[in-house]
């Protein structure tokens, strides 16, 4: 095939040592390399030719064995023989959004998640930005789903009792000379992309009115008033709960191990908890979505994980400092070819500032370790955005991996070769923003495949755990009179009451771990990082969740205790 030959020539010239071959209209790259960056580069070169439907990069890294997927040790038969209409693989924001939309139809739906809770991958490892899409390609799936989702977002969050706030976002520039080119370009791009809220080009003086702590040296800003934020894990859990409320089922610690495919159709799906026989499979497996696609004999894309690290600043010190998410445009010449946004200072929905993220290509899909080098990079890059931001105000930091494809666009479509699979893969930024509309499309396609009508009654509203700290004194008092547990503050940094923790433990998708409580009610997310409240959370998990206290886990299999002390034995 001519295209393959052309690509091979290009590879031999720019990134030699690899072999390109055809699989229908896709390309398969093979070979071995000692340098991981070469493997990624080969994939990029193949994708950028635009010749192929997709890039399947099978080049291996010499001397490296992939870390086995993190998995629960559970082996049982609880799902053996189950025949759900729809099996959703992956409990991130995409899987949960799909599950909720599916639960509008007369379908039996099961979501399997390999971890013990929802939102354990990228959905709890991002900044919660709800983007406006000014940086996106006009014809991308990213922009299409972003724009449709932006129209849904405010009402969806209201229905799910999840906070949503439009703080605006801005790109700050240090160079005035750049303004002559960049400002008209950004205006045109905003118009072409139908950016919600548009773009405003602001002088330093104008920007100071929005952001009084803007650092010296910033000459002008492109302000995007439509930029918003949400808690990505809170929204994921809310979507999941709403789906369960409408009849969907969720199975945790459930790992898809293989699939039986016959005549381009998935017949069965083997998991560590039994073999299932779903009619339709939905692939929302995040950084493992190409692995799942491969099991389904439908791999036409490749995930190359891109790690990012964010640091979280103390709320008390920083809430006053930043009113809007802000990114400083790199100095000319510093800009590298990158597919991830520049990161910046991002006030979260809970009014902490996140600093970051960076973007590093890594071979391990679940490498969530942090490094001092990353902290220094993100901090060095963004510290000069806002005056008076100090590294001493960092309370913690975390890493996540983006599920990037070589095409750098979402894969939201029905199977290419296999008939009963639908992919929601390659979802990286702006995945949180795009999740609602992706959920709608995929649920619609699945319902059409199975000719399933909508349910007569769908419960739109889901009530979250009350946040007593935001109630006015009168409401708070009335609530405490009804249940005194709401008057006992357990997490002092975030002002979370015992009542809220108990509500979370008894919620519709009950958390079983200390981190599960943290993601639901914020206990332990403050400046002491759980130093004071963790013992109380552990005691409540044991009592209210009827667990043996010695078996309480922080997360996964991570027990907190080994034994009783001598006195207590």
């Amino acid at each position: 095939m001519n295209k393959i030959k052309l690509l091979q020539e290009k590879l031999d010239k720019e990134c030699p040592g690899f072999l390109a071959s055809a699989k229908d209209d896709c390309v398969v790259l093979s070979g071995e390399s000692e340098d991981y960056s070469k493997i990624v580069e080969a994939g990029k070169i193949a994708a950028e030719t635009g010749y192929f439907y997709g890039v399947i990069n099978k080049i291996t890294l010499k001397g490296w064995t992939p870390k086995p997927m993190k998995r629960s040790p559970i082996e049982d038969k609880t799902l053996e023989g189950a025949t759900p209409d729809i099996l959703v693989i992956g409990g991130g924001i995409i899987g949960c959004s799909i599950l909720r939309e599916l639960s509008r139809y007369q379908l039996s739906c099961l979501l399997v998640e390999k971890e013990e809770d929802l939102a354990m991958g990228a959905s709890s490892r991002n900044d919660g930005c709800v983007h406006v899409g000014i940086d996106l390609h006009k014809n991308s799936a990213k922009l299409k789903y972003l724009l449709r989702s932006r129209a849904i977002y405010p009402q969806l969050c209201a229905d799910l009792d999840v906070p949503y706030r439009e703080d605006g976002q801005s790109v700050a520039f240090k160079s005035l000379t750049l303004k002559g080119i960049a400002a008209p370009y950004l205006r045109a791009k905003a118009r072409a992309n139908h950016v919600p809220g548009g773009v405003k080009i602001l002088s330093r003086e104008q920007m100071l009115k929005i952001e009084p702590h803007l650092a010296e040296g910033i000459k002008w800003c492109a302000y995007l008033p439509g930029g918003a934020c949400v808690s990505p894990y809170e929204l994921t859990i809310a979507l999941g709960e709403s789906a369960v409320l409408n009849g969907a089922k969720v199975s945790f610690n459930t790992i898809v191990e293989s699939m039986e495919v016959k005549d381009h159709k998935i017949v069965s799906v083997k998991t560590n908890r039994g073999t299932l026989y779903p009619k339709v499979v939905i692939n929302a497996a995040g950084v493992y979505s190409d692995v799942v696609a491969d099991m389904a004999e439908d791999q036409f894309f490749t995930i190359h994980p891109r790690k990012g690290t964010d640091s979280i600043m103390d709320k008390a010190m920083t809430s006053a400092l930043s009113k809007t998410a802000i990114t400083v445009y790199p100095k000319l010449g510093e800009e590298k070819r990158t597919h991830s946004k520049g990161g910046g200072l991002i006030p979260t929905i809970d009014k902490n500032i996140l600093v970051g993220p960076d973007a590093i290509e890594i071979p391990d899909r679940e490498d969530y370790t942090t490094s001092k080098a990353s902290i220094d990079v993100i901090y060095g890059k963004h510290v000069n955005t806002i005056a008076a931001l100090s590294e001493r105000d960092i309370i913690t930091y975390f890493s996540g991996t983006r599920a990037a494809t070589y095409e750098e666009d979402f894969v939201v479509q029905k199977g290419k070769w296999t008939k009963n699979i639908i992919h929601a893969a390659g979802i990286q930024s702006p995945g949180v923003t795009a999740a609602p509309a992706i959920g709608q499309d995929i649920a619609l396609w699945a319902s059409q495949m199975l000719k399933a009508p909508k349910k007569e009654h769908f419960i739109e509203k889901r009530k979250g755990v009350v946040k007593t700290r935001f109630l006015d004194d009168k409401e708070r008092n009335a609530l405490i009179k009804k249940n005194p547990a709401y008057g006992h503050i357990v997490c002092r940094c975030e002002e979370i009451s015992e009542g809220e923790i108990i509500d979370a433990i008894h919620s519709i998708i009950p958390p079983t771990t200390v981190d599960g409580i943290k993601r639901r009610v914020r206990a332990g997310m403050g400046r002491c990082q759980g130093g004071f409240c963790q013992p109380s959370v552990v005691a409540l998990l044991a009592k209210e969740g009827q667990q043996d206290i010695l078996k309480i886990k922080k997360k996964g299999e991570g027990n907190l205790f080994f034994a009783e002390t001598k006195e207590c034995k």
Binding site: K70, A316, Y368, T369, T370, S371, K372, I375, I394, I395, T396, Y397, F398, T468, R469, D473, K474, R476, N477, I480, K481, P484, A485, G487, H488, I489, R492, E495, S497, R527, C528, Q529, G530, G531, F532, Q534, P535, V538, A539, I549, L550, K553, K554, K555, G556, E557, G558, N559, L560, F561, F562, A563, E564, T565, K566, E567, C568
Partner: protein, 411 residues
């Protein structure tokens, strides 16, 4: 309408002493504590060594707290337990306090406010430890709570980072409880804890202390599996190539305490960069009229006895002092000293028997501390050794107003 003359926030040793003393000086006093029992962190400090100066005997933390609570019971102090202050607001002639407790939301007004809110522990991320985020990484105070209050062992094989007193105490406690302490690592080139704790908690139990070494990284996804140790240079920066990995299931951090002053900040109380507590005068009043500070919220102490003393000073002043036209003179501090508390002397207030606390910046031998007021030398005290971990205390009176200087000279 004022509900109270004095409200004390925090029921640890500082708050207990402050409330008792304010009440002794006829102030209508309320003590607010967020936990279900008084005593603060003393409740979990079951080791001895408390009360040597205050009671002339060695007590455990709970015993010390018990004595203070019993004293409080003889007074008219009202106590609110399980009560969490959510908001402070300046009102005419005092402060409005909003709190929540299992009875509801309560708002009350007081003439004077004493903040005895203690301190919190610095965490692993605040000392830039990288890697994963597993179970088994905990502060010394948290480990102490699990073992001493809950009776649960969170440790089998551990590394302790930081030679602060709580870390040393926990090294012994973990050993007695059947756990194994691989070693205590300290990034500084000198120990951070009291000498008596090094001897009694490490030497007596054959636990090695490694100076100029720190933990840089943790391993293990769900539960800790090991830590990376590296030697550090004189700037406490890890030296590349010196890393070694030590297998363990727990990492205990004793890497410093931070005075808790979120409530103080909400009232605009200026904090000292050196102590991280409010800047205070000799009555331990902050720079905001009618707001006092004491105990570990004011500066981190190493002995509970001095915490109680500072509470008494603040309690007495809050109960008795009238609003006056201030006459503040800032204390000039020798650069060899880390800090001196109080930071200012208000000559409009009594200057008899003032108590000063200070710490040296480094270890010094054979020094003399001179306190000058104007041209007069008020006090001259020799010290064979001065070290940062050991807080020093002075008491003196000033007859006449003048510039106050703490000067550290050679013997």
């Amino acid at each position: 309408m004022m509900d109270y003359d004095v409200v004390v926030i925090g029921g640890g040793p500082a708050g207990l002493a402050a409330a008792k003393t304010a009440s002794d000086y006829s102030a209508k006093t309320l003590l607010i504590e967020r936990e279900g029992a008084l005593g603060g962190i003393l409740k979990q400090c079951i080791h001895d060594g408390f009360g040597v100066t205050r009671f002339n005997e060695k007590l455990s933390g709970p015993e010390y707290a018990y004595r203070e609570i019993e004293k409080l019971k003889t007074s008219k102090v009202e106590v609110l337990l399980l009560s969490f202050v959510t908001r402070l607001k300046k009102i005419d002639a005092g402060y409005q306090i909003t709190l929540v407790n299992p009875q509801g939301v309560k708002t009350l007004a007081t003439r004077k406010l004493i903040l005895a809110t203690g301190c919190r522990e610095r965490t692993s991320k605040q000392v830039m430890i990288q890697g994963t985020n597993p179970a088994g990484v905990m502060t010394a105070g948290q480990a102490q709570y699990y073992i001493n209050i809950m009776g649960k062992m969170p440790i089998k094989e551990c590394v302790i980072l930081g030679s602060g007193d709580i870390g040393l105490i926990m090294a012994r406690r973990i050993t007695l409880e059947g756990g194994h302490v691989e070693g205590v690592y300290e990034a500084k080139n000198t120990p951070s804890g009291l000498a008596r704790n090094i001897a009694q908690c490490l030497t007596d139990f054959n636990i090695p202390l490694h100076l100029s070494e720190t933990v840089t990284r943790v391993y293990g996804v769900d539960r800790l599996e090991g830590v990376e140790i590296a030697k550090v240079d004189e700037h406490m920066t890890p030296i590349p190539g010196t890393e070694k990995r030590i297998p363990c299931d727990s990492l205990i951090l004793s890497v410093g305490l931070i005075p808790e002053n979120e409530l103080a900040k909400s009232l605009g109380v200026p904090l000292s960069g050196a102590t991280k507590g409010p800047e205070v005068d000799q009555t331990f009043m902050s720079r905001v009229e009618g707001v006092y500070s004491c105990g570990n919220a004011m500066h981190v102490n190493d002995l509970a006895d001095y915490v109680s003393e500072s509470g008494e000073i603040a309690g007495k002043a809050a109960a008795t002092s009238q609003n006056v036209e201030h006459h503040n003179v800032k204390v000039e501090v020798d650069p060899q000293l880390l800090y001196v508390v109080p930071e200012v002397v208000d000559f409009a207030k009594p200057t008899q028997d003032m108590v000063f606390y200070f710490r040296a910046k480094n270890i010094y031998q054979n020094k003399v501390l001179h306190v000058f007021c104007g041209d007069n030398e008020i006090l001259k005290r020799p010290y064979t050794t001065l070290k940062p971990p050991e807080m020093e205390r002075l008491k003196f009176s000033l007859e006449k107003e003048g510039a106050i200087r703490f000067v550290l000279g050679d013997k």
